[in-house]
């Protein structure tokens, strides 16, 4: 595919890096240094120019499959996508937005955008899912089904000595991260302390049985403290408040404090921490919070705040993070990582590009695991066919069929039926192989 990326920032760079191994990528940025650096690092074409200037597009190829606008400014993203569409024959446009107004559906239609990505909203959404499973590190909901993939830390499990197959009937352990390595366990694998387990099952089943994996985490969240009162913090506070959770936001900048308190009104308490926040900890009783979220723009600061929170006795600490490289470090420190705006935009855009109508793709465990789901729509030509070629991928992947709220592991004799959802778990490095398998089937 031919992909044009407008903006060579963190998101643009990471997208170009990932996409360039299989697609023709062109990156446009007005900063000549950024453009040169990208050209030398990656096998892509960079064009130095203003994304809002039609002249930039004159010498480019006349067609592209995707145009991805990820510059800093929403306005520039909209305008550049319109100009690029005018100059080049573009099939699909993806735009990253900061302002929640732009993410509205009608605007997307009017601008003829294939997908708009609003990372702050996505992050808040992740948080909402997380609140359904307060003990979980990470929650992903599968489309078209009532199933979920939930990750939880194994601590003080009594029954871990038995192989995982016999552990829980309705729950599948789809992956384990142990000492920084991610793998899909065989049925005789034994759970060890501090394993990060990826549990797959129906939401109700999961909610009942996942609780016994981790005895340290709170069973429910009643109050929460958020560090950082930017867009992200406010968006999160809104989600929490909607669930009747008491929220306190701590923010250094008075300006942000005022705008946050104006947005949130009475649903959350905004605290100004100009003179440090140590005294606030005592005064406001923050150490009695069930949960703490560090949502500033600074990755390192978030991690440090979480460690402080953990030390002062908050069981569940969450750091918003824009750097995949910190992921395993945070796991080892017992901090829950939530994707920040940039990394969320990156993953979301990747999912949009790789997912077609029938196959969606999710990436988990810091980019080590992948989950593909394929919906068998009523007009699919797969209906009634057996999954015969399954043995080809058996070594690399686990395939499950979700049919009328039951999950079964697929074997060669399984037959596709109407409205089935096929879920395929694998390590991310085997993803390409699985995709060819899917397209062959």
């Amino acid at each position: 595919m031919k992909i044009i990326i407008a903006g060579a920032g963190t998101v643009g760079y990471n997208l170009a890096k990932t996409l360039s191994s299989h697609h023709d990528v062109t990156v446009i940025d007005r900063n000549i240094d950024a453009a040169t650096r990208l050209m030398e690092d990656l096998d892509i074409l960079t064009i130095c120019g203003d994304t809002e200037d039609p002249n930039t597009y004159i010498n480019m190829e006349t067609d592209a499959d995707f145009f991805i606008a990820v510059t800093d400014s929403d306005e520039a993203n909209i305008i550049s996508s319109l100009i690029a569409d005018d100059m080049i024959d573009i099939k699909k446009k993806i735009i990253r937005f900061r302002n929640s107004f732009f993410a509205k559906h009608s605007l997307k239609e009017k601008l003829n955008i294939f997908a708009s990505v609003f990372p702050a909203y996505e992050t808040a959404n992740t948080l909402a899912h997380l609140l359904e499973f307060p003990k979980a590190n990470n929650v992903k909901i599968l489309d078209h089904t009532d199933t979920a993939l939930v990750s939880v830390r194994a601590r003080n499990i009594s029954r871990k000595r038995e192989g995982i197959k016999q552990l829980y009937e309705n729950i599948i352990i789809a992956g384990i991260e142990r000492n920084g390595d991610f793998f899909i366990p065989e049925s005789d694998e034994q759970i060890q302390d501090d394993d990060l387990l990826y549990l797959f099952g129906l939401k109700e089943d999961l909610k009942k049985s996942y609780l016994e994996f981790d005895s340290e985490m709170p069973k429910s969240v009643r109050n929460c403290v958020i560090f950082g009162g930017g867009t992200l913090g406010v968006e999160m506070a809104r989600v929490l408040a909607a669930k009747n959770i008491q929220v306190k936001i701590i923010e250094k900048s008075l300006e942000l404090c005022e705008s946050a308190s104006k947005t949130l009104q009475n649903s959350a308490t905004v605290l100004h921490s100009r003179y440090g926040w140590e005294h606030l900890f005592e005064e406001e009783g923050l150490k009695h919070a069930d949960m703490m979220i560090a949502a500033t723009k600074d990755d390192e600061y978030n991690v440090i705040k979480c460690m402080e929170g953990k030390r002062s006795g908050i069981a569940k600490v969450i750091a918003v993070n824009d750097d995949i490289e910190y992921y395993s470090l945070m796991h080892s420190l017992g901090i829950v990582a939530i994707r920040g705006n940039k990394i969320n935009a990156y993953y979301k855009i990747l999912e949009k590009i790789h997912s077609s109508k029938i196959v969606t793709e999710k990436i988990f465990c810091g980019g080590k695991g992948s989950l593909m789901t394929q919906k068998i729509f009523p007009d699919s030509n797969l209906i009634g066919k057996k999954i015969e070629s399954l043995k080809k991928i058996r070594r690399y992947a686990r395939v499950y069929l979700i049919r009328q709220n039951t999950i079964t592991q697929a074997d060669e004799t399984s037959v596709y039926m109407k409205n089935d959802v096929v879920a395929i778990f694998s390590q991310l490095k085997n993803l390409e192989m699985l995709k060819t398998w899917i397209s062959e089937a």
């Binding site: 031919k2 360039s20 191994s21 299989h22 023709d24 990528v25 062109t26 040169t36 050209m39 030398e40 990656l42 096998d43 892509i44 074409l45």
Partner: protein
Amino acid sequence: MDIRGIIKLIATIGIALSLFFILPILVGAIYSENILPFIFFDTLFFLVNLAPLLILRKHRFNLKVKESIVVVNLIWILLGIGGAIPFVIYHACDFPSAVFEAISGFTTTGATVFSDIESLPKMLLFLRSLMHWLGGMGIIVLGVGLFSLINPTGSLSLFKAESTGISIEKLTPKIKDTAVSLWRIYLIFTLCDAVLLYLLGMDWFDAINHAFSTISTGGFSTKNSSLGFFQSDAIVWVTTFFMMISGINFLAHLRSMNRDFSGYKSEEIRWYLFIFLLLSALLTMVHAFSSGDSLYFSATHSFFTIASVLTTTGYATLDYEQWGQIAVIIVFLSMLVGGNVGSTAGGVKVIRYVLLFKNIAAEIKRILHPNAIVAVFVNGNRIKSAVIGSAFGFFALYILTSVTVMLYLYARGLDEMSAISTALATVGNIGPGFALTGPSHNYGFFEWYDKLVLSSAMIIGRLECYTVFVLFVRDFWKKF
């Protein structure tokens, strides 16, 4: 360091090379020569390279900068040995001479150890031209095309280690596509040249060999008296033309295929043509005055000589040393210049001189106007001081390398002119020098160790110094 990856990559190059070796075997078969030993060697070479490839077929490599540099250096050694063995098995010469010949071929230097070329079997003659042709566009650029099939992400660092441009320039998102397009143009030029030479009276064998050697700016000929053998002005002019366009940045040619001729208007190409015309005109006059030949005859051979030396090809029609010492100096100047960046030519390259002189002018301006904001502009773009610094650094390294080789040769007993010119001719990948290594002589008289020193000089020149010298830095081999 990913040693298995390095071995796999080199073995793959070896496989590709052994497949290309089928061509000279076919030539041998056409001229009913004794091809059995060659076939035996090629099969063996193929198997030796196939073995590690099979063992490591599951190894996924992702070459980093260090590995790529090691690979590039090792490839030249592999090429030197692989290309040398056919000469040895046909008893054409001893092993060091054969290595010299092979490296001279692959680096497109065109210096030969043979005094009677015509007595060699036709398949060996073809092998020499083929080595030029493969080396010309850079075996690695060929590799980029091949290896991106196996390894979609790691090919870029190889390109960086081998490609000699001041900055990498791409016209397509994937470097593979650029590489493939470059090869297509290379092929088209070669075909055009071969057909024209055939039409002008060469037989197909000579036409193809000379086309290979011209477009790669190599310089091996199939005749003892080089192009002088054919006694045809048309052949000389056609070859002059093709040498000159091979000395131009191939990306400009690539652009022109898309009807974008702006590439030819770059300052480097303008200066390149200006230098060519100026030196050729001067040499024509000197030639005409000193020898009494007609102006047309002088021009034909003078333009040819300057094109040949400027693009580091190294063909000869007449012995330019006969035209007096001014002629020698003019040829010597063109030896120092070289072709364009991104072409098949070697040498210092025109753009570096453009940068050096513009920077000198800027320095002078700074002295005159201490408060002025002075910058160096090329093609309308401001050149960063880091780029100028690296151009100066390269220039210094190039001169130092040449001087070292020169001192070595002088110590080995050569006269001054031979030592200086041989050093420049090998480091600059030109081929013939003056006096003992002049156009009417060859490199056969050197001892075996001299040949190995000169072979390394050719590789250093071809890889533009840095890629080789970085191996001798201690930090390169440290893990941390």
